[in-house]
Every structure is written in C-alpha cells, then in structure tokens.
C-alpha cells in the first residue's frame, strides 16, 4: 500500500507559515536594505546576541505545548547570570559555576512544577511569584553591575568559531571571517535536543497529549502530573543554561539582565506557531520565531528609524499580524473540517 501524503497537522502548518514569512522578510531586507543583510555575519550577529533568548523560548515552548505558561524565565536567567558572575569573581571553579547555573534553573523548575502540577495552583501565579523571587534575589545579591573578572571564563568567552568562506571583505581589503560565539552552538544544541525529545521521546509526545486534552491524556494512561512537572523542569533547566550563555555573551552581571525576556520568549513562541492553549507547537518554529522577532528589530534600525520606540511599535504590529493570521488560518481550517 502506498503511503498517502497527509495534510499538514496544525503544528506543521503554523511552523511552515512562520518559516516562509521569515525567509520572505529576510529576502526583502536583502533586496531593499542590502548592506549588512547581504553578509552572513548579519545572521551570526543576530544569533550571537540572541542565543539566550532562543534557549529560554525553547523552554517556554515546551511549557506552552503542555498547556501551561512560565513567565519566570527572564528572572531566572538574570539570577543565574548574577550568581555565576559573583561566584566566578570570588575565584570560583568554572565547572562548579556551570553546575550552579543548571542547579538554580532546575530548582526553580522543580518548585514551579511541584506547585503547578501537584498542588494544582494556576501556573501564571506560580511562575509570576517565581519571577518576583528571582528578580528580588538578583538585587539582593548585588544592586550594582558586576563585571566578570574570571580569567578562565573570559578566555573561553573570547573563543569564536571562525568561518572564512562566510566572511566578507572589509573596506580596507581584509577578509573578515564569519564569527559565531560558543553560546550559539549551545543554543542550537538545545534546539536540536528539545526537537528530538518532542518528536521521538514518549515524554515529548505526552507533552502534546497533555496540552491537547488533559482529561483525555489522563484517561489514556498518561501520568499527567509527572508530565506537567517535567515541562516546568525542562523550562527551568533551559533558563539555567540560558543564564550561563548570557554571561558568556555579556561578561557581566546586572540586575536588569534579560529584562523582558519572558515576554520576548512568549512572542517568539507564538510567532513560531505555538498556541498558548497547548498541544500545538514546535521548537524549530520557535527558533525561526526568535529570528523573525529579532530581524524585524534589526530592519527597523537599519532603515534609519533609530528612535527605540519604533522597534516596539513594529514588534507590536508584527505580533498583531501573526496572531491574527494564525487565528484566521486555524478557524478556516476548523470550518472546512466541520463541512468535510
């Protein structure tokens, strides 16, 4: 029997839309703005600057697929940055600092998961409290910005992956190779790992079942509480990793680190085709969602609209565009199904 091509699932459809729009947008930028957009380094810069955002957005996507929400991701990231910087500056061990980052992330994830899943408290409130706690702890650790002085890590920070054939020739005739930071590789690794977890692991499919219909998931024999707990744990873990990557990128701890990251991450997930109602979404989509979100800001700046308020206005407009588009696409789909 020949396997017939099935129509795209909701997840695939929304993801495809995002990827197409991103490519179209980037192509338009290359044609009309040229300059930096013609260089591969433009994308590398986007990735270098936003690797932590990609990582937290992946975590948030997992939680949203499971039908929850985690708005603590920015706070946890910032707490991890501050804790690691202070620890390393006090002659800490590099390896231990990594464990510290993961530990803080996991601890937050575990507490959130416990409260949401086993005590059945509304996730918004739990993770809001988590965000308050993380932000508060950050300022308790230090109100003043802390510069990273640990030599080992600073040495690692300066390592950059150089790709000559993706470089460009500067005005003075020198070839400047494409430069990618280590953090980007970590981010890409996170995307791939989470993608594989969601697609090929029982646990990952259980996330979708949970978000699709919680009651059904229970009746189908899924341990709903444990599954939901795991979504928050993963999100916490990724926030911890994001914190470490953030530190590697900026080399400083600051109370306002990753400010607003939670909302940017939510926006990235949504643009990438994740539904807050759960059960639909994919980290590849989220990855492109993050790129779309950050590219539009870059485009606004490059077009000469330097005033910062232009960025947020365009971001808002783009969110509006994507949200309405998705709503229309899904409701048309529902209608055609009801008829068929």
């Amino acid at each position: 029997m020949k396997t017939r091509r099935e129509p795209l699932t909701d997840t695939q459809l929304l993801m495809t839309i995002t990827i197409c729009i991103f490519i179209a947008m980037y192509a338009l930028a290359m044609i009309f703005l040229g300059g930096g957009f013609l260089r591969a380094q433009q994308i590398f810069d986007l990735l270098n600057d936003n690797a932590p955002l990609i990582i937290v957005a992946c975590g948030l996507t997992v939680v949203m697929i499971g039908g929850g929400i985690d708005i603590s991701v920015g706070g946890v990231t910032s707490l991890v940055v501050m804790s690691c910087v202070l620890y390393l500056n006090a002659d800490g061990n590099l390896f231990v600092s990594m464990l510290l980052a993961l530990g803080i992330g996991l601890a937050f994830g575990a507490v959130h998961g416990l409260l949401v899943s086993y005590l059945e408290i509304q996730p918004f409130i739990v993770t809001l409290a988590g965000m308050f706690f993380a932000r508060g702890m950050t300022t308790i650790l230090s109100v003043n910005p802390q510069k990273l002085t640990h030599e080992g890590l600073n040495a690692i920070r300066s390592i950059k992956l150089e790709i000559p054939w993706l470089g460009y020739v500067a005005k003075n005739g020198n070839l400047i190779p494409g430069r990618i930071e280590l953090g980007v590789l970590i981010a890409l690794l996170c995307v791939i790992v989470i993608f594989l977890v969601l697609k090929y692991l029982r646990l990952g499919r259980n996330f979708y079942a949970l978000g699709g219909n919680q009651q059904s998931a229970l009746m189908l024999g899924i341990n709903v509480k444990k599954t939901r707990f795991m979504t928050y744990l993963i999100s916490g873990l990724l926030s911890g990793i994001a914190g470490f990557v953030f530190m590697m990128h900026t080399g400083a701890g600051n109370a306002t680190n990753a400010a607003g990251a939670e909302m940017n991450a939510i926006a990235s997930s949504i643009i990438g085709g994740t539904l807050l109602s759960g059960g639909v979404g994919n980290v590849i989509g989220t990855f492109f969602g993050t790129l779309t979100l950050t590219t539009i800001k870059k485009i606004v700046v490059t077009s000469g609209l330097k005033d910062p308020w232009w960025q947020s206005i365009t971001t808002g407009a783009m969110l509006l565009f994507f949200i309405v588009l998705q709503s229309i696409v899904l409701s048309r789909r529902g209608k055609s199904r009801a008829k068929g």
């Binding site: 099935e6 219909n213 024999g221």
Partner: protein
C-alpha cells in the same frame, strides 16, 4: 473456560461529599462474556467503572483480577491499563491534536522512545481489519466524532486486554456502526475477553449480552443471566417500582391536533450546517424530526432557532414574515430550544439552579432590567416544585445535580419564558426511565395548553408515543412525513432506510 472468573469486585464503597455513591457493591465478570451493567442515572454505574479504572479511589472493598497476585492495586488509569483493563468512554477521550496512530499508542507500554513507523503500520492494519475509515497519520481532529469513537475502540482492542469496559460507546454511533461494534465485541468475546457494557438502550443489551448486573441507588440489586430477566422485569428492577406507570404510558391517547393556525413556517431555510428545507407547525401540535444520527435532524432544528449561522430562507411566525438569525431573535418570537448536548450547550455548571432557571427569561427581559432576587427565588421555587426537581436547594450549583434533574432545570428555564413553540432536542437522552416518562407527559400537557412542540429522540417508540407527525430525514434531506396510521415503527424504519417513501 466460560465459567472462569476474570474480575471480582467485592464490597466496593465510595463516598462523595454528601452523597453515598456506592455501598457494598459486588461485581464479577467471567472470561468471554459480555456483561451489561444497568441502572438509572445516579445508580452508581459510572462510579463503579471509574473505581475500576483508577479514576476514583475506593473507600472500601477489594478488586481481584485474573493473573494478578492478591488484590489489584489500581490508583490511576495507567495502573488499570497495565494490568489489562481497557476502557472506552462515552465522551471521546482522545487527543484531537495528535494523529490517529499516536492516539492508539500513547500512554501505553514503557518504551522510552516513540517507534512511529511501527505504530503507524500496526495501527493501519487494525483500522483496516476493523473497517474503520481513518488513516494512521491523519490528525484526529479531522475525523468525524463517530470515527473518533471507533479509534478509541480500536485502541482498546489492540491492548490485548483481559477486561474491556464500554461505557455508553454507542450513543454517538449510527445503526450500522453499532452493528460493526457488536460484531467486534462478539469477536473479542470469542477470544476470551470479558466485556463490561454500559448502555441506556435496552434492545442493545438483549442483542449482545450474556449477563446483567443491576445497580440502584449505589447498591447492588442483583446479577442475572439474560434469559432469566425479561425486559419488563429489568426495567422494574432498575426503577425499583412496578410497571403501572410504564403501562399507563403506552395507553396514552395519541395527541393529534393539526387544525390550529400555523405558528411557525419556514421556506427553504438553510444554515451553515443544514441544507434548505420547508417546515411548518400548528398551534398545539407535537411533531418530531427523526432519522439516523448525522441525518441532519438536529441541524435543522438548530437552523429554526438560529443556533448556527443561518444562510437563507423565509420564516413566518404567526403568519408574519420575520428574520431569525440569532437565538435572541428566535426567543423574542416565542421560540425555545432545549439543546441536544446538555453539558456543552445547556447547563451553566457553576451557577445555581435558580440562576439557571431564570437565565433565558432574564435575557429576554433585557440587559437593563434584572429580575429582583425575590422574583428569581419565586420563579425557582415554583418550577422546582412543578417539575419535581430534586436539588438540595435552589442555590446548589446545577453541575452537582443528576442528569435528569439538570434536564428538568433546562426545561424549567424555557417554560418560564412561556414559549409558543418549544424545540426539544433529545430531552430524554442519558436520563433515567422515570424522568423520561415525566418529560413525555409534560410534553403532552404543554401541547394541551396550546404550545407547539418539536420533539427529537433517538428512541423511536418515544417519538411514536408523543408525536402526531414525524418528519423523516436522511443524508441531511427531508425524505418523508408520516402522520396518522403511518406512525408505526416499521413504517418509520422503512422511510429512514429509503424504501418506498410516501
């Protein structure tokens, strides 16, 4: 072999706040038998099943399963699945966002990875064997409800279970699908699976079952072989009273009044869900729409009420042309509509009985003219008494009432608006026999008071008892209209099946 017991439940007790749901219930299931679990609503069938499947914990009692050492510990649906108890529920308990194959295999086994290809292959075979029109890689949401239910059954079939529980699986299936399910059940029975079958349709019980266990008010009435217990006695055992009332119902004189003026008339009325049709009803007439599930009977009455998006047609109420495109317009013209799906479209679960009763009247009075608390209480008291609604108080949330009483509250809601024309879509579905009779009587009484009524029911006898005119639908079209002497079960069946329709 047929006498080997596969499942024994002893002395099961379950208490909910304020309600004793199960008291000292015994139940046993043999290998290779189909065992009907019968009882009125609130008798404890669902609770017993949920205890068995680990959705509820039991307060006392023991469960023994063949092949499991000692007492079976079932604390979650997962435990139940692992020891070989598979369940198909009345409501579809699958995930619409996953594919058909995933729905069949998720939550099963202990493997760490998803073997997608293998699952899809196996699922394809099973679906084909069972003749279910679904493809493994199709998203479940794109299947019809009946097919989704069949997928749930396919999942259970594939689990190689020892005990299969079917909790009212037939309520969303049409006759053909029911027959398919029955042949499936017989097949499994031959393989030695014990099947627990819960249903409200008595004929189905006598068609496939070997034994019957009857529950009433959370207690065991008894377990009988099917030959021992004729249908009439079964009903008597379920209701716990003798059958005078039931008999008197059969002696109803058929209400027949089509001489009054036409109250409602539609020409080529159509909606997003229904094809154009003509329809009219006289004052004080009781008519019915019949046909198989999916024949368009519910969709047609929904179009009359403006419940779906109305796409065309002319409507006259009392001879005057009017526009009805939204429920509120229908209500303003004296039309009431009791929806088919009580839980989804009828009750506002967290609101009190009082608020649920006054809702429609309140909407008609308008946003700026709220009923006073005293008025609302008066109306609520009046109808709780008139319809004999069993509720702790009028402030009890309607969600905590039994199905039949919820239905009466919804009826009260519409009666309170004093409609000229009342549409009742499956008012007796999923409620106990006693309440069914009460509702049928009420329909006839309303007709006497000059209310026109459209009555829809899956049970043809019920329709024949109450309606003076039956509109028969097939494939979303009206294929016949039966009155007078044509109102017999055979005639209706013939018309539905598409014989020589008049």
């Amino acid at each position: 072999m047929p006498n080997e017991t596969v499942l024994t439940m002893r002395g099961i007790c379950k208490q909910f706040p304020g309600v004793r749901a199960l008291h000292n219930v015994d139940f046993s299931l043999r290998k290779g038998e189909i065992h009907a679990l019968m009882g009125e609503n609130g008798a404890g069938k669902s609770t017993l099943i949920k205890v068995l499947t680990g959705v509820y914990g039991k307060d006392a009692g023991s469960i023994h399963l063949d092949g499991v050492e000692g007492e079976a510990n079932i604390h979650s649906p997962q435990d139940a699945q692992n020891i070989g108890i598979a369940t198909v529920y009345q409501e579809i308990t699958l995930c619409p966002n996953l594919t058909v194959a995933e729905n069949m295999y998720i939550g099963r086994g202990a493997s760490f990875l998803v073997r997608r290809k293998e699952y899809e292959k196996k699922a394809g075979q099973i679906l084909e064997n069972l003749g279910i029109p679904a493809r493994p890689r199709q998203q479940l949401a794109s299947c019809s409800l009946a097919v989704q239910q069949m997928v749930a059954i396919a999942r259970a079939v594939d689990m190689q279970c020892k005990v299969l529980i079917l909790d009212e699986p037939t309520s969303s299936l049409d006759d053909k699908e029911v027959q398919m399910l029955f042949s499936l059940m017989r097949d499994l029975k031959a393989r030695g699976v014990g099947i627990i079958f819960v249903t409200h349709f008595l004929e189905q019980v006598y068609e496939v079952c070997d034994r019957i266990t009857v529950l009433r008010n959370g207690e065991l009435v008894g377990a009988y072989r099917i030959e021992e217990l004729p249908q009439v006695q079964l009903v008597a055992k379920m209701m716990g009273k003798d059958l005078d009332e039931l008999n008197s119902m059969n002696a109803f004189e058929r209400w027949n009044r089509t001489d009054g003026p036409v109250v409602y008339e539609a020409r080529q009325l159509s909606s997003s869900e229904s094809r154009p049709f003509d329809f009219q009803i006289h004052r004080g007439e009781v008519n019915g729409f019949t046909g198989l599930l999916g024949s368009g009977r519910s969709e047609s009455v929904r179009a009359i009420f403006g419940a779906d998006h109305v796409t065309g047609g002319q409507v006259k109420v009392d001879g005057k042309p009017v526009r009805i495109t939204r429920p509120i317009e229908a209500m303003k013209h004296g039309i009431g509509y009791l929806p088919e799906d009580r839980k989804r479209d009828g009750i506002i679960a967290d609101l009190s009985v009082r608020e649920n009763i006054i809702l429609a009247l309140q909407v008609m009075k308008g946003f700026f003219r709220p009923l006073s608390r005293a008025e609302a209480e008066k109306f609520a008291d009046e109808y709780i008494q008139a319809l004999n609604i069993k509720t702790a108080s009028k402030d009890t949330p309607i969600g905590s009432l039994s199905g039949g009483n919820q239905q009466k509250v919804i009826l009260a809601r519409w009666l309170l608006t004093h409609p000229d024309y009342l549409i009742l879509d499956e008012p007796t579905r999923g409620i106990d026999v006693g309440t069914k009779l009460e509702i049928q009587k009420l329909v006839l009484k309303l007709a006497e008071d000059n209310v026109s009524i459209t009555f829809i029911s899956s049970e043809i006898e019920e329709m024949l008892r109450t309606c003076s005119r039956l509109i028969v639908m097939r494939d979303r079209n009206i294929v016949g209209e039966l009155t007078g002497d044509d109102l017999t079960q055979t005639r209706v069946m013939q018309t539905i099946a598409g014989g020589e329709a008049s």
